[in-house]
């Protein structure tokens, strides 16, 4: 029975999509974590809830409306934050609550909670179809290519905005690009862990990897490895024991984080040679 699950095509799709999402969330999340923007993913996810509700009410595929609503609201919020000098955490709170508020009102208007809503709140990776998988793989590919092409600009403006500006890097444009990529990543990842647990994939593998890695690329690779391990093991274990994949995946990531802290407190983890 245990090995049988590797023969199911829905399991192939789930694992392939899961790995792509794990890589995507790790890389985009690393930039957000280092910019002290850890909860931004969460805020975008909550605003996408409004988009999902809108799609369900209008009879449009909810993820399309979620992409539109989250990206647009994240960009608007970033603009407002810069223009009116609102702090990062406060702008996250505004974005987060407006998305949920809009979603709740729309759901109320269209007759209350349905099963569809729950699958978006908690993820439904075992239900992804071939088209979803192709979309997830394509978006992951495009975002990774953009990151590789603009690697120096992204890293430098994350490291120190002022110095990046002096080196002639268009820091504002890079900031909007990161917000845009975060928007796409969040909505793409909803299928894996749902709206409520997205920030876990953005943050936990990265804060763990930062304790191990020295350079940026090394840290990103370690983070991806932890993330892929959590996602694949989480999907398999949750299927075998018939529990929710999203919770299981996140608990594996938290487990690695907890072990790392244990190793670190015991003095076993040192970067000095």
């Amino acid at each position: 029975m245990t090995f049988e699950i590797f023969t199911f095509s829905f399991m192939h799709r789930a694992i392939i999509s899961g790995i792509a999402i794990a890589i995507l969330c790790s890389v985009v999340g690393l930039f957000l974590v280092l910019r002290r923007y850890s909860l931004f993913g969460d805020a975008i996810a909550h605003s996408s809830f409004g988009g999902i509700a809108l799609g369900l009410m209008a009879g449009i595929y909810p993820l399309w409306t979620a992409y539109g609503v989250s990206i647009v609201s994240a960009l608007i919020m970033t603009r407002i934050k810069d223009k009116f000098n609102i702090s990062g955490d406060a702008s996250i709170a505004v974005l987060l609550s407006s998305g949920i508020a809009v979603g709740l009102v729309i759901i109320g208007l269209s007759g209350g909670f349905t099963l569809d809503i729950f699958s978006f709140l908690f993820g439904s990776i075992l239900l992804v179809n071939v088209n979803d998988t192709i979309l997830i793989l394509s978006l992951t590919g495009v975002i990774l290519i953009v990151i590789l092409l603009l690697y120096r600009q992204l890293l430098y403006s994350t490291f120190n905005e002022e110095q990046a500006k002096v080196s002639g890097i268009p820091v504002e444009k890079i900031n909007y690009l990161i917000v845009f990529m975060a928007g796409i990543t969040v909505v793409t990842s909803i299928q894996l862990v749902g709206v409520l647990l997205i920030s876990a994939l953005f943050v936990i593998p990265n804060v763990t990897a930062i304790m191990y890695g020295r350079g940026f690329k090394q840290t990103a690779i370690i983070s991806m490895s932890f993330s892929i391990f959590s996602v694949v093991t989480g999907i398999l274990i949750s299927y075998i024991f018939d529990i929710t994949p999203a919770g299981t995946i996140v608990l594996f990531a938290i487990g690695i984080f907890a072990c790392t802290m244990g190793i670190k407190s015991a003095g076993l983890l040192s970067r000095h040679h």
Binding site: L34, N160, K165, V166, S167, R214
Partner: protein, 240 residues
């Protein structure tokens, strides 16, 4: 001598205070200019305008004969070392990563090793930036500023919070860059002795330009030094 920087009637106002009040000066190629002045004299404000970080100023700033409002190309020829580089303490970047951020063309990667060796930080290249001492970090930021072979190096009180041994090494590196590689240096400091030893030109800034000229003309004129010291002392008392 070719003028690389021309500051003409520069005034920078904040809502309640004039941070820079109508200053004029020029810097020639190969100059080692020390800008001295007490805290709050406008040194960092001046640099922010020169580096294009603050565009709300009156007057003109020219680099290599071109108004910086018209083109940002001059930034390619400038290496900038900030007062205290701010970054996340546990930012996962090695010394090598940080210096590479400054590199405009990927093709020049061999340059990184050369610069690291020149600044005595070659052995640190795979260490994380946050693990280094203040003096070592400062040298990494100079390496980053130098990696594109800049014509001008701008340093904003670069030795704040650094031990004396590192400061001495830092100064000898600056002197060498200026004399051997003919890099123009614009350096702000409130250490009069160091400026006296290193710089060949001095600008005394205290919102207005109190003096600008050859270093000797300033330091050999006791009356000027006394006036300057009194003015900075008053400013110092005012701030406390």
């Amino acid at each position: 001598m070719l003028k690389v920087v021309e500051i003409d009637h520069l005034t920078i106002e904040y809502p309640d205070v004039k941070a820079i009040d109508d200053i004029n000066f020029t810097v020639s190629q190969g100059d080692f200019l020390g800008i001295i002045g007490p805290n709050g004299a406008g040194k960092s404000t001046l640099f922010a305008a020169m580096l294009g970080l603050n565009t709300k100023y009156k007057g003109t700033i020219k680099f290599f004969g071109t108004d910086i409002r018209k083109s940002k190309n001059y930034l390619k020829e400038i290496g900038y070392v900030p007062q205290k580089p701010i970054f996340e303490k546990n930012f996962p970047a090695t010394v090598n990563d940080v210096v590479k951020m400054g590199l405009q063309k990927e093709s020049d990667e061999s340059k990184i090793d050369e610069i690291l060796q020149q600044l005595w930080i070659h052995e640190l290249s795979e260490r994380r930036i946050g693990e280094l001492s203040g003096g070592q970090q400062q040298r990494v930021f100079i390496a980053k500023a130098l990696v594109n072979n800049p014509k001008i190096l701008i340093l904003d009180e670069p030795v704040t919070g650094i031990d004396q041994q590192s400061i001495d090494l830092f100064y000898s590196i600056l002197k060498e860059l200026n004399s051997k590689q003919n890099i123009t240096i614009i350096w702000s400091s409130h250490d009069l002795d160091a400026v006296n030893k290193l710089a060949n030109h001095v600008a005394c800034l205290n919102r207005t330009l109190f003096f600008h000229g050859e270093s000797d003309d300033f330091f050999k004129n006791d009356e000027l030094v006394k006036q300057y010291s009194e003015a900075s002392m008053q400013e110092h008392m005012h701030h406390h």
